[in-house]
């Protein structure tokens, strides 16, 4: 095997932070090379150096690609050499068709005039290559995230990719889609495309990767071969310690009934007559962690948001009770007053004001808590933020730091701090560990455990079944806007959850037919 890429002693400094400190990475031609590391360890920064987002000269160290020193001035430079990166946030334009997106910036044109028949034909070929069965004229925004991911890969193929970099490609995918993507990666490997995958999901890495480089705190810790790959070893290298258990030990001690939803329904906000939530009833006791499992798009987020101040949908019906008494949750303010908090799935778009410092984000949902007669007490605000920084171990030089500069795990802790400051009795956590590395996940789980031990109720929505099984006392299974089953901790298994969903799907299709 020949070496395709060698990065030597890469050091990248941001104002006040050394993001990369003499990192080395060697990628052999034709392999799938995984990069693991905690959030903020520097994986994405390293890939940005490689792909020209940070041009040559803004970092120290050297890159040898295909036997030549690589001096990228821009992303375009690196793309010309066949290095293509697919970012975590997909860069497709939702209102344009697949064909238009595929050849964006690389149009099939002579003298600036696009030949659409040719573009459509080429798009068709590329889509076949990635196994996506959609017409080239389909509008991208109407397709699911999994299909969009395939379009991104098709786009890379159209540019004669030699080194494909995938930054957490399956983070937003359901299991079936993720599986298909991993298969495609192996197929591309067979065709000779070298790939680098950044992922937090260790089982995926074990499946596709030939070698793994673990990065910790901006330096490369180790490179492991396929034979050496084991979850425990990777985790140990990532966090610098052995992790006997991936979930904190806890003894469930459910108390009195805290939160009850009875016969809750709501309609789609735009499409008239489309019922999204169909008569859902569920409950959470004090000190209990309850999960909601289900595939993506089955209405879990919609359920949570519709309960939390009718933030989703219209035509709400049903009752919500706290401590046995019906409460008014018709606005977010009232829901918060009733003791309910909702930590959103999408923390950047819905949870944080990225350009504001940590302390202003933490106080946001309870400004009256730091004010006297509507006048802010900034000293108290700083104390509160400082308190949560210590309590939740938010890693930052100070609470004046803008949250945009924090890693995903630390951003999530800021969002949690914000909601804890509202003194909730019930926390609804929507995908609380999405895009967070193993070490930070454990910390988030520990926080959840502490919350339960304080006698609060936790309702957790997650698409990662292992974490539901590892954390929850009870799991509701949701499908098509309905609760289709309830499993206790002892009964629950991935198979049983999937079985409930599949059985329900069979029923619905039966009805339609």
């Amino acid at each position: 095997m020949t070496t395709l890429l060698e990065m030597r002693g890469i050091t990248k400094v941001f104002p006040g932070v050394k993001a990369l400190d003499r990192v080395s990475l060697t990628v052999e031609a034709g392999e799938i090379h995984a990069i693991c590391g905690e959030n903020g360890a520097g994986k994405s920064t390293l890939m940005k150096v490689l792909s020209g987002v940070y041009p040559h000269g803004t970092y120290d160290g050297e890159i040898i690609y295909d036997g030549q020193p690589l001096h990228n001035r821009s992303i375009r430079d690196s793309e010309e050499k066949g290095i293509i990166i697919i970012h975590q946030e997909l860069a497709l334009i939702p209102l344009l068709s697949i064909a238009e997106n595929l050849f964006m910036g690389n149009e099939v044109a002579t003298n600036g005039v696009i030949s659409w028949p040719l573009a459509m034909q080429k798009t068709g070929e590329l889509l076949r290559q990635v196994g996506l069965n959609e017409p080239p004229s389909a509008v991208v925004g109407k397709l699911g995230v999994g299909k969009q991911q395939l379009i991104e890969i098709a786009k890379a193929l159209s540019k004669n990719v030699r080194l494909l970099i995938l930054d957490e490609p399956t983070a937003a995918l359901q299991e079936a889609d993720a599986d298909r993507l991993l298969d495609l990666m192996l197929e591309l490997k067979a065709q000779g495309v070298t790939q680098i995958i950044i992922s937090h999901k260790l089982n995926e890495i074990g499946r596709v990767a030939d070698r793994i480089t673990v990065i910790r705190d901006g330096t490369s810790v180790s490179t492991l071969t396929k034979e050496e790959i084991s979850e425990d070893r990777i985790i140990r290298d990532m966090v610098g310690r052995d992790m006997a258990h991936r979930y904190p030990e806890r003894t469930p001690a459910p108390g009195e009934m805290l939160f009850q939803v009875e016969n809750w329904s709501c309609m789609h906000p735009e499409q008239a007559g489309r019922q999204m939530i169909k008569g859902v009833s569920l409950n959470v006791r004090k000190g209990e962690i309850v999960g909601i499992a289900g595939l993506m798009g089955t209405g879990r987020t919609e359920l949570a948001m519709s309960i939390f101040g009718r933030s989703y949908g219209k035509g709400h019906a049903g009752t919500v009770k706290m401590n046995g008494k019906p409460v008014d949750v018709s606005t977010v303010t009232k829901a918060i007053a009733a003791g309910i908090s909702y930590v959103t799935e999408d923390r950047k778009a819905l949870g944080l004001i990225l350009e504001e410092p940590i302390l202003k984000n933490i106080s946001l949902a309870n400004l009256m808590g730091i004010a006297r007669r509507h006048v802010l007490d900034k000293r108290r605000e700083a104390q509160v933020a400082e308190g949560y920084r210590k309590q939740l171990a938010i890693r930052t030089p100070g609470v004046q730091q803008k949250v945009v500069n924090l890693s995903g795990g630390n951003q999530q802790k800021v969002v949690l701090s914000k909601w804890l400051f509202t003194e909730p009795q019930l926390l609804i956590l929507d995908e609380p560990t999405r895009g967070i590395d193993v070490g930070a996940k454990f910390e988030i789980y520990t926080i959840m455990k502490d919350l339960a031990e304080q006698g609060r109720g936790v309702l957790m929505i997650s698409s990662e079944m292992p974490e539901l099984l590892g954390m929850c006392d009870r799991i509701y299974v949701m499908n098509e806007g309905r609760i289709v089953g309830e499993l206790t901790r002892d009964e629950a298994s991935q198979e049983k959850i999937m079985a409930l969903i599949v059985k329900d799907n069979g029923k619905t299709t039966g009805k339609v037919a």
Partner: protein, 389 residues
């Protein structure tokens, strides 16, 4: 470390603005004296900067809130003209006393703001469209109310709003005693506030700006205030307008930085959805910003009408652009969520000083427009450059 950066960056921005203002004043002083004309910074000129630009500052205060909330208001010039005409109609035609006219006109302004804010806040109609419509509607309404004529002149009491001076309660007369006392108090307050916020920064673990820089800046501000105070005292004293401006500036600076509702407006502009999901009544706040803008537009409209001593159909043309320019020169972001009152006031003063300086120098209106446009562009480029650095 990194937060030192951001706080230094913040100080840099404010210091830079102040420096730019000082530099522009110095530049005009030199240029004017080179032309052999009387001193640029003489009392009548200083007085006039405030009299002639008071309305821009007032509009810019309201415009900052709107822009921070992520919106824009193009209608303020027309609303100022219309409310000025309303005030004229009430005073001159209906002969109502000024104590009735002023509150009534402010209410009309508030209602206009509410009428526009309703569509923006509750119907999510883009503010650009709503206020563009408002700009046309209220320009037309002004013409209709005035019947295409000017209405004037006004009683002395109404004119005093824009051209009056505070009485000298000390009885010294020349120099104006009360003016000197107010100036001294103001200087003391500025130094006290500076020291207090410095102490607070230190307590929060924000790296304070270097001592030399702090005192250098504070002394420059104090010296400038002393100079302006002395000049005004030796002329006719503090203009009423300046008192109104100072009071409003302090009020709005306090509101935006130290109150719950003020902070929430920044949150709405910073991330509307996150603010909404944090229990902030986003619609109500946006609505409030527009009502507030309407009231301030009415105040500005009355001040301009009083200064011209006549309500005219053409009044207020281009005010909205002056106010918006002052906000952006003052460092607010087009995307919403950021900007400071003090920056906006300095931004408006920079424009005012340039207007006056170029007029004294005899620069034609053609070049004045071009230069002002370039200054606006340069200020924003400076901001963006600093952010990306």
């Amino acid at each position: 470390m990194a937060d030192n950066q951001s706080s230094l960056g913040g100080h840099l921005r404010e210091n830079g603005m102040l420096l730019a203002l000082v530099a522009i004043v110095a530049l005009f002083s030199v240029l004017v004296s080179m032309q052999g004309k009387p001193m640029f910074l003489q009392a009548p000129n200083i007085t006039n900067i405030f009299l002639q630009n008071g309305h821009v500052i007032i509009l810019a205060l309201g415009m900052l809130l709107i822009i921070v909330a992520g919106h824009i208001d193009l209608s303020v010039g027309s609303v100022a003209a219309f409310t000025g005409a309303v005030a004229a109609y009430l005073t001159v035609v209906l002969k109502l006393p000024i104590s009735v006219v002023i509150p009534l006109t402010l209410i009309v302004g508030g209602l206009i703001g509410a009428a526009q804010g309703y569509w923006v806040a509750y119907w999510r109609i883009p503010s650009f469209i709503v206020t563009l419509a408002g700009m046309l509607v209220f320009r037309g309404a002004t013409l209709w109310l005035l019947g295409g004529q000017n209405i004037g002149p006004f009683p002395k009491a109404f004119q005093a709003m824009s051209s009056g001076f505070i009485p000298d309660l000390t009885g010294i007369g020349k120099p104006h005693g009360l003016t000197l006392i107010v100036t001294a108090i103001a200087i003391a307050v500025v130094i006290w506030i500076g020291l207090r916020s410095r102490a607070r920064d230190a307590e929060f673990g924000i790296a304070p700006e270097p001592t030399g820089l702090f005192w250098g800046r504070t002394l420059i501000i104090a010296a400038a205030m002393a100079f302006v105070g002395w000049q005004l005292a030796s002329f006719r004293g503090l203009p009423n307008v300046l008192i109104v401006l100072a009071a409003l500036t302090i009020l709005y600076a306090f509101f935006t930085e130290n109150t719950v509702q003020g902070r929430r407006i920044y949150a709405v502009g910073g991330n509307y959805k996150a603010a909404k999901l944090s229990g902030i009544q986003t619609e109500r706040l946006v609505f409030f910003c527009f009502v507030n803008m309407g009231v301030l537009a009415a105040l500005a409209g009355m001040m301009v009408t009083a200064r011209l001593n006549s309500a005219t159909p053409k009044a207020g043309t281009g005010f909205e652009l002056d106010a918006i320019a002052a906000v952006f020169i003052g460092g607010a972001s087009m995307a919403g969520g950021s900007g400071k009152i003090i920056g906006v006031v300095i931004g408006a003063l920079i424009m005012g000083v340039m207007n006056m300086g170029m007029s004294i120098l005899g620069v034609g209106i053609d070049y004045q427009q071009m230069i002002k446009g370039l200054v606006l562009l340069a200020a924003v480029i400076f901001d963006v450059y600093n952010k990306n650095k």
